[in-house]
Every structure is written in structure tokens, then in C-alpha cells.
């Protein structure tokens, strides 16, 4: 390893994050059980600090360090800022829920931060090795978080399922990586791309490796036919952890795909495009159709996630800068929309009661019209109805595939979003048209209410003035992906 080019400043967010985690770990030991809000506060402070560091050091152009193992570029920075914000929301929305279930312990916060560190590493990886390291750090932290309620059978079961299937996916990924290494003799993503473009690589070996890589990636993303873990894990985990799994990791997984398929293997685009078309079609179809049959909202949102990943892949498989930007925008909008959805479920849960079934939302408009409105915004945004932000996300990915001439795929996608609209509408129906069964008062702390409201209203505001956010996503992709 060559230490002369080591520029720690480029990796400052990760350094700060790691130091903060270690500090919080230590401090937490001296904080009594009933004052864990100090740990909570410190964790939030860390996220705010990280965001500041990220914004101040926003890179104008890609730069690498750690012997080209680590890359800092606008894409990574934009995604990291979105991940900090998402994690911030996850922690705030989940505080009451966690406290009522004895989950507000130091390890909850440190594990969350470790997961974030793993995602940061994934997003900034420019070598297959760093990518894999980041992914494993994220996964390990998530396995533990899912089972954080030791006595909860569904939680432990979900954790085991996620662990076994996740390990299998990691194996597939590693196997694929090893074949790429065998064909090109390097693990550095940029060098891999150059070697393939130079043309003296074993095409068969590369294509074979690509199949395993795509399988592994789809596994992590939760796309059909590698989606079986998603509903069980979403259902079994405590809702605050489900929200966590559905938020920032989706962004990290998306960048993971861009780094491998676009930055590393763009010469094989013809091959992965075909695979992703299939995966995308199946995800949209099975995700949407199965979601209709669900009565449990967490399961319904799990299948809806699967279908959203299908839409996201539409942007990737377009294999154009426009498509990647659209997919990035889709991912960001999706994450913040799902945060509202899960946030409302957390708000409606209380000690000894988890809001999980569709019928638990019945008559929410009568009980509290403000939360009903917030959920309405989230559902219509997910369904892609204007003027919600979700519309522009769907519009952008669909126009990306239409522009490369795949009009039938675009038509299929809009038909699937029609099916999707049905079950989102059903949630709105239950909230607005049905009579309330549960008349317990909804008691929510002011900070949760404020942040959740801001989050949901943002879905509408970014629908009416979507220009800025779209611009940021397009610029980030344009400045980061050097396309050959």
C-alpha cells in the first residue's frame, strides 16, 4: 500500500462517524438506564455534524484516496446527505416506540450508526473489496438490530431468515467478484472498466461473473426473483427497525448497483440490461399483485417496496445518464415517502399495541385529521399521483425507458402503477371512509409530530416545485459517472 497519497480529508465523514461511534459506545457505559436520552441526543448530534461536514466538503469532481479504494464524488455526497437525513428521521420517529418497548438502549444507537458507517463505505467504494466490506458491516448491524428484542419470536425469526439469505447473497456476490477478478486481474472498479474496454479479457468468464453479481445485487435490493426475504423481514422486525431497513439501505444498494454495473461493467451493458428488464418486470408485477392480497400494512409495504425497486431498475436499465439520474431521484423520493408511511404506523402504535393491520388505520380521519392527511400524502406519492413528488419519480424513470425505445416496457410500467394505485387507494379508503374502531387518544411528542409533518409536506412541496431536487440528482450523476 502506498501511504503517500493518503488523504484523510476526503474520507472525513467516515472518520468522524467512526470516532463518534466509539465515543458514544464509551459514554453510554456511564449513563444510567433511565437517562438514555443522552445517547439519543448524542447520536442525533453526530448526524447533524456529519451533514455539516458533508456539505462543507462537497466535492466538485471525483477524487480517490486509500490507494483508489475510496472515492469521494458528488454522487456519494448527495446520497450520504440523504442517508443522514433519513437516519435522523428514523431515530426521531422511532423514539417513543422504542422507549415503550425497552429498545431504547445504547446498542440500538451504536448499531444504527455502524449500519450507517457500512452504508457510507458502500457508497464511497471504488474497489470491489471496499464495496463488500461496507455491505457486510451494514448487514451485520442490521441482523442484530432486527433481533434487538431478544424475547420477540418474530424478530428473532426474521433476523435468522435475513442472516441465512443475506449470507447466501453475499456468497453469490463474492463468487461473481472472484470471476471478474479472474478475467481482469484487478479489484479496482475503474481499472476493471478499462481492462474490459481494452478488450483482452475472457468474455465468457466475465458474463458468467456478471450473472452472479446481478443475482447478488437483486438480492440486496429485494427484487424478484430474489425477494423472498423482504416480506418476512419487514413483518417480523419491530416497526422502527423495518423503517430503518426500508430507508437508507435502499439508497446505499442503489449506489452499489451504479458502482458495479455502470462504473465497472458498463461495457457489458447489453448483457445486464436484458437481465434487469426481466427482474424489473417481475418485481413490478409480483410486488404489486401480491400487495393487493395483504391485510398487514407492513407486509403490504414490503411488497410495495419490491415493486418500487422494479421501477427504480427501469432507470438503471435505460443505461443512459438520464436514466441513472431518474433512478437516483426515484430512490431519494421513495425513501422519504416510505419514512412517512412507517412514521404514521409508529405514531399510531403505543405501549402494548403495534399498528400493523390495515383495519388499525380505520377512521383515522375522525380520530386525527392531520395524521390522516399526512398518510394520504404518502400514499398518493407512492402511487405516483401528481402533484406528489412520487409522480415525477415515476415520470422520470418511465420517460428514461421510453427514450431508449422501450415503449412497450413503459406501457407495462404504467399499467403496473395502476394496479399499485389500487392498494394505496385502499389505505386512503380505510382512513377516510371507514368508521373508527380504535378510539384511543393519539399521544405524540411535539418533535416527532413536527418532523413527520415537515417530511410529509415536503412530498407535496417537492411535487409542486420539483425543480431543485431533480437538478441536484441530475448534476450529481453527471459529475460523478465518467461514462466511456
Amino acid at each position: 500500500m502506498n501511504w503517500s497519497d493518503l488523504n484523510l480529508m476526503l474520507a472525513l465523514p467516515e472518520v468522524v462517524l467512526l470516532l463518534a461511534i466509539l465515543a458514544i459506545l464509551l459514554i453510554d457505559l456511564f449513563i444510567p438506564e433511565d437517562r438514555k436520552s443522552v445517547t439519543y441526543g448524542l447520536t442525533l448530534l453526530t448526524l447533524v455534524g456529519l451533514t455539516a461536514v458533508q456539505i462543507v466538503g462537497f466535492p466538485a469532481a471525483p477524487a480517490t484516496t486509500f490507494s483508489t479504494m475510496y472515492i469521494s464524488d458528488p454522487l456519494a455526497s448527495v446520497v450520504k446527505i440523504a442517508m443522514y437525513a433519513a437516519t435522523f428521521c428514523v431515530l426521531v420517529y422511532g423514539r417513543q416506540y422504542n422507549a415503550a418497548r425497552g429498545m431504547e438502549r445504547g446498542d440500538y444507537y451504536t448499531l444504527t450508526l455502524f449500519a450507517l458507517l457500512g452504508m457510507n463505505v458502500m457508497v464511497s467504494a471504488s474497489s470491489f473489496l471496499t464495496l463488500y466490506m461496507g455491505l457486510e458491516l451494514l448487514s451485520l448491524a442490521l441482523y442484530a438490530l432486527i433481533a434487538i428484542q431478544r424475547d420477540s419470536m418474530p424478530g428473532v425469526e426474521a433476523s435468522m431468515k435475513y442472516f441465512v439469505l443475506g449470507a447466501l447473497a453475499s456468497g453469490l456476490l463474492l463468487y461473481g467478484i472472484s470471476m471478474v477478478y479472474g478475467a481482469t486481474g484487478t479489484l479496482d472498479i475503474a481499472t476493471v472498466a478499462r481492462a474490459i474496454h481494452a478488450g483482452n479479457t475472457n468474455a465468457l468468464l466475465l458474463t458468467f461473473g456478471l450473472v452472479f453479481l446481478v443475482a447478488g445485487l437483486c438480492f440486496k435490493l429485494g427484487a424478484v426473483p430474489f425477494h423472498m426475504w423482504v416480506p418476512d423481514v419487514y413483518h417480523g422486525s419491530p416497526t422502527s427497525v423495518t423503517m430503518m431497513i426500508g430507508a437508507a439501505p435502499k439508497l446505499a444498494a442503489f449506489v452499489f448497483i451504479l458502482r458495479i454495473l455502470v462504473q465497472g461493467l458498463d461495457a457489458l451493458a447489453v448483457h445486464w440490461q436484458g437481465m434487469l428488464v426481466l427482474v424489473s418486470i417481475l418485481s413490478m408485477l409480483i410486488g404489486n399483485v401480491t400487495a393487493i392480497a395483504q391485510t398487514n400494512i407492513k407486509r403490504m409495504l414490503a411488497y410495495s417496496t419490491i415493486s418500487h425497486m422494479g421501477f427504480l431498475l427501469l432507470g438503471v436499465l435505460a443505461a443512459t445518464p438520464e436514466g441513472y439520474s431518474a433512478a437516483l431521484y426515484y430512490a431519494v423520493v421513495y425513501v422519504f415517502t416510505s419514512l412517512v408511511g412507517f412514521g404514521i404506523l409508529l405514531v399510531l402504535s403505543r405501549k402494548g399495541f403495534d399498528c400493523e393491520k390495515l383495519s388499525d388505520l380505520a377512521g383515522l380521519n375522525q380520530r386525527n385529521s392531520w395524521y390522516a392527511l399526512l398518510m394520504l400524502l404518502a400514499m398518493f406519492s407512492m402511487a405516483g399521483i401528481p402533484p406528489m413528488a412520487g409522480f415525477y419519480a415515476k415520470f422520470a424513470v418511465i420517460s428514461a425507458v421510453a427514450h431508449i425505445g422501450m415503449v412497450p416496457l413503459a406501457v407495462f410500467a404504467v399499467l403496473m402503477s395502476l394496479i399499485g394505485a389500487f392498494y394505496y387507494l385502499r389505505v386512503v379508503k380505510v382512513i377516510y371512509f371507514d368508521a373508527a374502531e380504535d378510539n384511543n387518544e393519539i399521544t405524540v411528542a411535539g418533535d416527532i409530530k413536527l418532523l413527520l409533518s415537515l417530511n410529509a409536506v415536503a412530498l407535496l412541496v417537492f411535487g409542486i416545485v420539483p425543480d431543485r431536487l431533480i437538478e441536484v440528482c441530475f448534476a450529481a450523476v453527471k459529475q460523478s459517472l465518467v461514462l466511456m
Binding site: 415520470f395 427514450h403 389500487f422 379508503k429
Partner: protein, 503 residues
């Protein structure tokens, strides 16, 4: 052009009701329902007054768009906030703002639960509809077009009748299906022309197979909205379950957006495909006019009857729009279709208002539950007589002008088209007047009818305004025709030119 004071007028007309709607929503729960009503009334009246200069300052000396506004909206996707109205869309913006005032009044005492939400939904929808009529960018149009589904969905589902949930979901999904395909067509067209400007779509040269595909997408989107036979089945369900105000807006305005879509999108963008499909469109329209007219005859539910009569009347509109002689559209028929749209806006709103007035007293929409109402409500009976005559297309009412012009235009194209279309004058009179006879005339049928009180001041005001419009339009249609004349001529000239790619 000396209209600088009106540079943002269209934006105002779109956003004023939306802001008013948010204000109404902010008044909170039903303990402040009175405040919500007044804020809604002030908001809707102000929006209507704002829309009036659109009519009065609209110059009918030349065609083209007026009151244009243009600024970039989403530059990365090449989408603009581009507004403007021609002689066709201007009328509907004003009509919509006008109807909203009546809707607020119509729900004044009748709506008792969640008043603020009810009023807010109508005001917001009014702004969105104005946006759809005024948009000159295809995506901007789509955003307004789709967004109005949300308030309508809630209006039917929350304040509707017993089968409201089924009706609201059916309404939403039916209309969403069509518009999603239209979105793909827009994306495709923007690929061909490099922008989402509707005007640039108008100039695109497209091969016949492409035109056919684009036409089908437009057809599915707009035919569902109009609604044309056989995709009309959502309308009776939605109407029957919707509250009175919802039915008024549905019939008076939202159906018109479908017909407007044919004029603004299908005809000018894919004229050759329209010409190709014209016989089919005429056939579907005639089926709507004749067959749906007969269906209306056998209805036992008053609201369903008027809903079917709406479909039948809208059949006239689509018939008039697809009257080709050669590649030339017939000017009489197109103008007649437009007049019919405006007239139907008044007449159907009035009919639903009348049914609402009776429903509020007896809580039944069944014809069989009434009889002899005229004995108890003479003032109401005179109003309803006028509106029934207008619905049947009696001369001197607005209903006659449009239907007469379409039939006259149709005679020039094909006698049998005109003959079949003219049967509506018989069927329309039959179902409307027969209903009128069974409900209003005869002996007082039961104790509920005996308890009915004549219209109060609020109801009188609404009905009187509508009666004025129906008569005014029937006696002096020139006030409307003169505004739209140039725009219709432009349209006909544009459609007459083939847009097939030269080989």
C-alpha cells in the same frame, strides 16, 4: 397588447381557489363549520370575479392563445409552467369558477359533517380544473388533470351515498387507466419534438401507425372522462353516490375535460388517425345518444336517469367533434358541440341541484317515492319545468342551440347521422318529461311529500341564477359563439392538413 395588468391573471384564477381551500382547511373541525362555509363562499366568489376579466377582456378579433404566461418549471426534464387560453378553454375556466360558487352554496346547510374538508376539496378541485384548461404544457396539463382525481375521490367516498366506496374506487381507477397511457403518449411525442409544449406537438409529423397508437392512448384517456359508450359505466355509479355538489361538478365540468382533451390533443396532434377513426367515433357517439337515451327511459332512480341523460348529451358533443366531410371538420358541428358542452354545464348542474333539493327533504332518489310535489312546491316546480325543458332541448333554452347546430352540421355530412342524432329530441323529451310528470304532477303521493316545503332563499338563489343562464344562453348564444369562433376556425384549418411523414 395593453393587457399588462393581466399578465398573471390565469395563475391567479388557478391558485386563488387552491389557497382559499387551504384556508378553509385551516379553520379546523366542525365546531367552526360556520366560519369554514363563509371562507369558502368568499373564496369561491373572489375566484369567480377574478375569472371574469378572462371573458370581458378576451379579444375575439383574432385566434391564438391569450393571457399567456411562461416560465421554466422543471428545466432538467424540459417542462414549462406555460399557461394560456383560447376561445374554447377560456369559456370553461369561467364556467368552472362559476359552478364552484353554486356548489359551495348547494352544500351550505346540507353538509353537516367535516364541512371544512368538504368545502376545501371543492375549492382545490376548482383550481386544479382551471389549471387543466389553461395548461399549454402537456405535463403541466397532466399534473392538473390527475391531481383533481384526489379531491373527487374523497368527495364521493366521504360524503357519498351507501355504495360510495365502490363508486369512488371505480371512478379513480377507470380514469387513472386512461390517463396513464396518455402520459406514455406525451413522453413519446416529446421524444419526437424535443419538448412538452402542446403547440410543438401540434406541429409534429407522425407516421400513420404512430398516429394510430397515440390516438388510442388519447381515446382511452378522454373517452373514459367524457364518458363515451362503452366505457361510461363508472359515471352512473359515481353520480348516484356523490353528494349534490359532487354531481354538479362532475356533470358540469369534469366531463367537459374529456371532450376538451379531444379538441386540444387528439384532433390537432393526430388528425389523420382521427379521420381514420371518425366513423367509429361517430358510431360510438350515436350509440350513446340513442341507446343510452333508451336506458335513461327505464331508470327508477332520478340521479341515475340524469346521469344517463348526461352520457347521451355528451354523445352529441363527441358526434359534433368528429363530423368530417373529406378531411374538413364541419364548423357548425364543432361549434355546436362546444355550445352543447357549455349548455350541458348549466342544465346538468341545475338538474342535479333540483334532485338534491328534493333529496334533502325526502331522502330518497326513487321516482316511485314521489308524486304531486308541484302541489307542495310550486316555485320549485316552475324552475324544474324550465330545466327539464332545457334538458329535452326545447327551443329558447340553451339545450336547443347546441343540439340544433350539431344536427344541422350532421345533415351536411350524412343524413342518417343527423336522423339518428335527432331522435334524441324525442327520447330526451320522453325520459325527462316522463320523470317530471311522475315526480311533480298528480296527487300528493305520500306523507313525506305532503311535508315538503318550498325552496328556501339559498336554493332559490342557485336555481334562479342557473335559470337565467339557461334562458340567456338559449336566447343569445352569440355571446359564447363569438368568443370561440376564431379558435374553432384555427382548429379546423389545422386538422385539415395531413401530418403524415413525407416519404
Amino acid at each position: 397588447m395593453g393587457l399588462t395588468m393581466f399578465t398573471n391573471l390565469l395563475s391567479l384564477v388557478i391558485w386563488a381557489p387552491i389557497v382559499a381551500g387551504l384556508l378553509v382547511l385551516a379553520t379546523g373541525g366542525d365546531q367552526r363549520a360556520g366560519l369554514a362555509r363563509w371562507v369558502a363562499l368568499v373564496g369561491s366568489v373572489a375566484s369567480f370575479l377574478l375569472s371574469l376579466p378572462l371573458y370581458t377582456s378576451f379579444t375575439d378579433l383574432h385566434g391564438g392563445m391569450q393571457f399567456e404566461e411562461m416560465r421554466p418549471w422543471i428545466e432538467a426534464l424540459n417542462i414549462n409552467y406555460h399557461l394560456g387560453v383560447d376561445g374554447i378553454s377560456m369559456l370553461f375556466v369561467v364556467l368552472n369558477s362559476f359552478t364552484t360558487v353554486l356548489v359551495v352554496l348547494a352544500g351550505w346547510q346540507v353538509i353537516e359533517k367535516r364541512v371544512a374538508q368538504y368545502m376545501a376539496a371543492f375549492l382545490i378541485m376548482s383550481g386544479l380544473i382551471n389549471g387543466a384548461f389553461a395548461a399549454l404544457d402537456a405535463i403541466l396539463f397532466y399534473v392538473f388533470f390527475e391531481a383533481m382525481l384526489i379531491p373527487m375521490y374523497l368527495i364521493i367516498g366521504v360524503w357519498g351515498g351507501p355504495r360510495r366506496v365502490y363508486a369512488s374506487i371505480k371512478f379513480f381507477l377507470y380514469t387513472l387507466l386512461g390517463s396513464l397511457l396518455m402520459l406514455v403518449a406525451f413522453i413519446y411525442l416529446s421524444r419526437q419534438t424535443g419538448s412538452f409544449e402542446i403547440a410543438s406537438f401540434h406541429d409534429a409529423r407522425l407516421a400513420m401507425n404512430v398516429q394510430v397508437m397515440v390516438f388510442i392512448a388519447f381515446f382511452l384517456s378522454f373517452a373514459v372522462k367524457v364518458p363515451m359508450w362503452p366505457v361510461h359505466t363508472w359515471l352512473p355509479d359515481a353520480h348516484v353516490e356523490a353528494p349534490t355538489g359532487g354531481s354538479m361538478v362532475l356533470a358540469a365540468i369534469t366531463l367537459k375535460i374529456g371532450a376538451y382533451g379531444f379538441l386540444r390533443f387528439a384532433l390537432p396532434i393526430v388528425p389523420d388517425a382521427c379521420h381514420y377513426f371518425a366513423p367509429a367515433m361517430v358510431a360510438l357517439s350515436l350509440v350513446a345518444v340513442v341507446y343510452i337515451g333508451l336506458v335513461a327511459l327505464v331508470q327508477t332512480d332520478m340521479k341515475k336517469l340524469v346521469a344517463y341523460s348526461s352520457i347521451s348529451h355528451m354523445g352529441f358533443v363527441t358526434l359534433g367533434m368528429f363530423m368530417f366531410s373529406g378531411t374538413q371538420l364541419n364548423a357548425w358541428a364543432v361549434e355546436g358541440a362546444l355550445i352543447q358542452m357549455v349548455s350541458h354545464g348549466f342544465v346538468s348542474a341545475a338538474m342535479f341541484m333540483c334532485i338534491g333539493v328534493m333529496y334533502d327533504r325526502v331522502h330518497s332518489r326513487n321516482i316511485a317515492d314521489y308524486g304531486g310535489v308541484a302541489n307542495k312546491m310550486p316555485i320549485f316546480a316552475s324552475f324544474m319545468m324550465l330545466f327539464s325543458m332545457a334538458n329535452a332541448g326545447l327551443p329558447a333554452t340553451s339545450g336547443f342551440v347546441g343540439e340544433g347546430m350539431v344536427v344541422l352540421g350532421a345533415v351536411q355530412v350524412n343524413f342518417w347521422y343527423a336522423f339518428l342524432a335527432a331522435t334524441t329530441l324525442i327520447f330526451g323529451a320522453a325520459y325527462t318529461l316522463w320523470m317530471y310528470k311522475r315526480v311533480l304532477f298528480g296527487e300528493v303521493a305520500n306523507s313525506h311529500v305532503a311535508d315538503m316545503k318550498d325552496v328556501n332563499k339559498r336554493e332559490f338563489l342557485i336555481l334562479a341564477i342557473l335559470a337565467l343562464m339557461v334562458l340567456g344562453m338559449g336566447l343569445y348564444p352569440q355571446a359564447f359563439i363569438s368568443k370561440m369562433h376564431f379558435s374553432v376556425n384555427d382548429l379546423i384549418a389545422h386538422v385539415a392538413q395531413s401530418k403524415l411523414v413525407d416519404h
